[in-house]
C-alpha cells in the first residue's frame, strides 16, 4: 500500500522534536554561560579602573555604588512613577504606531494609486529628523505625555508600515491562483492568505517598532518634560548624580530588553508554523 501503510514511522508528528546532538545543545545554551561571564569581566574592568584612578569617581561611579543606587531607585515610589510615565508613553505610542503602520501598510499594498500618492509624504515623515519636531510638539501640547506619545508613534509606525507592505507583496503567485480557483472574495483572501502570510513580517516590524517607540518617548522627555526616565537623565546629569544616571540607563536597557523579548517570544505562539517561530534564535535589529 505504498506510503499509507505506516506514515507515522516515516513522518514525525508535531510533538517529536529533532534529535538534540551535543553540538546543538552546546550552541543553544552557550549564551547562558557567556553572557554572565562577559558581564562579570566588564564589571571587573570597571571596578579595577575606578579603584586605580581615585579621581575618576566624578566621571565614573564604582559598580557597587550604582548597584546600591539601583536598589534605592526601585524602592522609591517617585522613581517608579517616572518608570510608569515612560512605559505609558512608549506603549501607547507603540500601539498607535502599530495600528497606523499596519492599516496604512495594508492599504498601500493593495492600492497602487494610494501608494504613489502617499509615498512622498511617508518618506518625508521618515527623512525629517524627528528630534527637531520635539520642541514644536512640546510647544503645542505642553510638558504632558501627549507630545512624547506623538514622537513615539511617529518613530514606531514606519518599520511596521514597510514590513506589512513587504509581507503582502511577498505572497506567492500560487496562493493567489489558489484563492482565485476557489472564487474567494477580496476580504476572504485578506483574512486567509495575506494576513497570516504577513504575520512574520508584522512581528519583525513590531520588534523594531517597540524599541523605536521607547527611544521616541525618552528623547521627548529629554528635550521637554518634567517626568519620565528621559527627564531623569537630564536631572541626574545636571545634579552631578552619575550613579543615578547609570541607574536610569540600566533601567532603560532592561525595559527595552523586556519589551523586545515579549514580542520575540510571541512568535512561538502566533506563528509556530514559521521558521522564525520555531526557535528563539533571532537577529537583533
Amino acid at each position: 500500500m505504498e506510503q499509507t501503510a505506516n506514515p507515522a514511522a516515516t513522518y514525525p508528528g508535531p510533538s517529536s522534536a529533532r534529535r538534540m546532538t551535543v553540538g546543538r545543545f552546546f550552541i543553544k545554551y552557550l549564551p547562558f554561560f557567556t553572557t554572565p561571564a562577559l558581564l562579570a569581566i566588564v564589571i571587573g574592568i570597571w571596578q579595577w579602573y575606578v579603584a586605580s584612578n581615585p579621581n575618576s569617581q566624578y566621571i565614573l561611579p564604582p559598580p557597587a555604588k550604582v548597584w546600591d543606587r539601583l536598589f534605592e531607585f526601585m524602592r522609591d515610589p517617585t522613581s517608579i512613577e517616572h518608570v510608569g510615565v515612560t512605559l505609558y508613553e512608549t506603549l501607547v505610542g507603540f500601539f498607535l504606531g502599530s495600528v497606523i503602520g499596519i492599516s496604512l501598510g495594508f492599504i498601500i499594498a493593495k492600492s497602487q494609486i494610494l501608494e504613489r500618492t502617499l509615498n512622498p509624504f511617508i518618506i518625508a515623515s521618515q527623512v525629517i529628523p524627528k528630534v527637531a519636531l520635539v520642541p514644536l510638539f512640546t510647544f503645542w501640547f505642553g510638558f504632558n505625555p501627549t507630545s512624547k506619545i506623538i514622537i513615539a508613534t511617529l518613530l514606531a509606525f514606519f518599520p511596521l508600515l514597510s514590513n506589512v507592505v513587504l509581507g503582502i507583496k511577498s505572497v506567492e503567485e500560487g496562493k493567489h491562483d489558489l484563492m482565485n480557483s476557489l472564487a474567494a472574495s477580496r476580504w476572504q483572501r485578506f483574512l486567509n492568505v495575506e494576513l497570516p502570510f504577513s504575520m512574520p513580517y508584522i512581528l519583525t516590524g513590531m520588534e523594531v517598532g517597540v524599541v523605536l517607540a521607547l527611544i521616541g518617548a525618552v528623547v521627548g522627555e529629554y528635550l521637554g518634560g518634567n517626568k519620565g526616565l528621559g527627564f531623569l537623565t537630564v536631572y541626574a546629569t545636571n545634579a552631578f548624580q552619575l550613579d543615578l544616571l547609570f541607574t536610569v540607563i540600566i533601567v532603560l536597557t532592561v525595559i527595552g530588553f523586556v519589551l523586545y523579548a515579549i514580542l520575540a517570544g510571541a512568535r512561538r505562539f502566533l506563528i509556530p508554523w514559521h521558521e522564525t517561530g520555531k526557535s528563539a534564535r533571532r537577529e537583533v535589529a
Binding site: 500500500m1 505504498e2 506510503q3 499509507t4 506514515p7 507515522a8 516515516t10 513522518y11 514525525p12 508528528g13 508535531p14 506567492e172 500560487g174 496562493k175 491562483d177 489558489l178 482565485n180 480557483s181 476557489l182 472564487a183 474567494a184 476572504q188 486567509n192 492568505v193 497570516p196 504575520m199 506563528i271 508554523w273 514559521h274
Partner: protein, 293 residues
C-alpha cells in the same frame, strides 16, 4: 497493490467509467473557439488558436504538448483563472465567463490542482482541506465530516494526518492533500496542471495509480495537463495533443485500454504503442534541431 479492492467504501462510490459512459453523455465542459492573444512589446503573440474540446461526464482527458504550447494557458482558461481573448467555456451547460468576468458560482464547479500543492503552512491538514468549505460558509460539523471523507478518498489516514502541518508531509502526500482540497466542495470536475511534475519517478507512478483510484471512486471528470507521454496514456480515456506556437489542437487520441489499469500494464505492448504514436505526434511539433522554437 491494487487499491480498488481493499479500499474502504466511501459515499463517493459511483459506477465505473464503462457503465457511466453508457448512462452518461452529459458534457461537463465545452470549450468552443478559444483564442488567446498576448500583447507584448514585440507585438501580438497568439498563444492559443481556435481550440474546441468537450469532456463527457466522468471521463479522463489529458492535454499533451511540447513546452510552451499553451496547455497550461488552456487549463487556466478552463478553470476561470485567465480570460480568453475570444471564445466560450460552458461548464455544466452554463457559461463560465460572463460580461463581468468569470462567474464565482461556475468557478466553484471546478476543482483546480496546481503543480505546487499550494498548501497554507499555517493551517494543519484538516484545515487546509476545509478551506474551500470555509470560504463557502459550510458549517463546522459538516466540514469535519467532509474532510474525513476526502482523506479516506485520497488514501490518508485521518487520525494520523488531520493534525499534521504541511511541512511534515512528503511531496506526494502534500499533493494528495491538494487533491482532497480540490474535491472537498464536490465540484463537477477536476483540472490538474502537471500535478506530479515535481515528484520522483516511483512516487509519480504510485500517484498515477492513486489518481486513477480517486477518479473511479469519485466519478469526477478530470482534465490533466502533463508532459509525460506514459502518464497521459496510462490515465486517460482521451489524449488531446497540442502543437506549438500558435497552440492548436492537433489530434485527439482515444486510448482503448481496459480499466482499471494496473502497474503491470505499464509494459503492455498496446500501451507502449500508444506512447510511441504520441511521441511521433509530438516530434512533429519540434524543429529538426530538437528545439521547439
Amino acid at each position: 497493490m491494487d487499491k480498488l479492492e481493499n479500499s474502504p467504501p466511501t459515499t463517493f462510490d459511483k459506477p465505473l467509467p464503462a457503465q457511466r459512459g453508457a448512462k452518461g453523455g452529459q458534457q461537463d465542459i465545452v470549450v468552443s473557439g478559444i483564442n488567446k492573444i498576448y500583447t507584448t512589446d514585440q507585438g501580438r503573440v497568439t498563444a492559443l488558436e481556435d481550440i474546441n474540446l468537450t469532456a463527457e461526464h466522468g471521463s479522463f482527458i489529458s492535454l499533451l504538448g511540447p513546452s510552451g504550447c499553451g496547455k497550461t494557458t488552456l487549463l487556466r482558461i478552463m478553470g476561470g483563472l485567465l480570460h480568453p481573448t475570444t471564445g466560450e467555456i460552458m461548464v455544466g451547460g452554463r457559461p463560465l465567463y460572463g460580461p463581468n468576468g468569470p462567474s464565482k458560482e461556475i468557478i466553484r464547479e471546478v476543482g483546480f490542482v496546481f503543480q505546487d500543492p499550494n498548501l497554507l503552512p499555517w493551517r494543519n491538514i484538516q484545515r487546509n482541506i476545509a478551506l474551500p468549505l470555509e470560504l463557502q460558509k459550510v458549517d463546522k460539523t459538516e466540514r469535519i465530516g467532509r474532510v474525513r471523507e476526502m482523506l479516506r478518498l485520497v488514501g490518508l489516514d485521518a487520525t494520523t494526518f488531520e493534525r499534521l502541518y504541511p511541512r511534515q508531509l512528503s511531496g506526494g502526500m502534500r499533493q494528495r492533500v491538494a487533491i482532497a482540497r480540490a474535491l472537498v466542495f464536490n465540484p463537477l470536475m477536476l483540472l490538474m496542471d502537471e500535478p506530479f511534475g515535481a515528484l520522483d519517478a516511483m512516487t509519480r507512478e504510485n500517484m498515477n495509480l492513486e489518481l486513477q483510484n480517486i477518479w473511479q471512486k469519485s466519478g469526477k471528470t478530470i482534465v490533466l495537463v502533463t508532459h509525460s507521454l506514459q502518464e497521459a496514456v496510462f490515465l486517460s480515456d482521451r489524449v488531446a495533443v497540442l502543437s506549438s506556437r500558435p497552440g492548436r489542437l492537433k489530434e485527439i487520441v482515444d486510448i482503448d485500454l481496459p480499466r482499471p489499469r494496473t502497474r503491470a500494464m505499464l509494459e503492455d505492448p498496446k500501451l507502449t504503442e500508444y506512447v510511441g504514436y504520441l511521441r511521433h505526434k509530438l516530434e512533429e511539433g519540434y524543429d529538426n534541431d530538437g528545439t521547439n522554437r
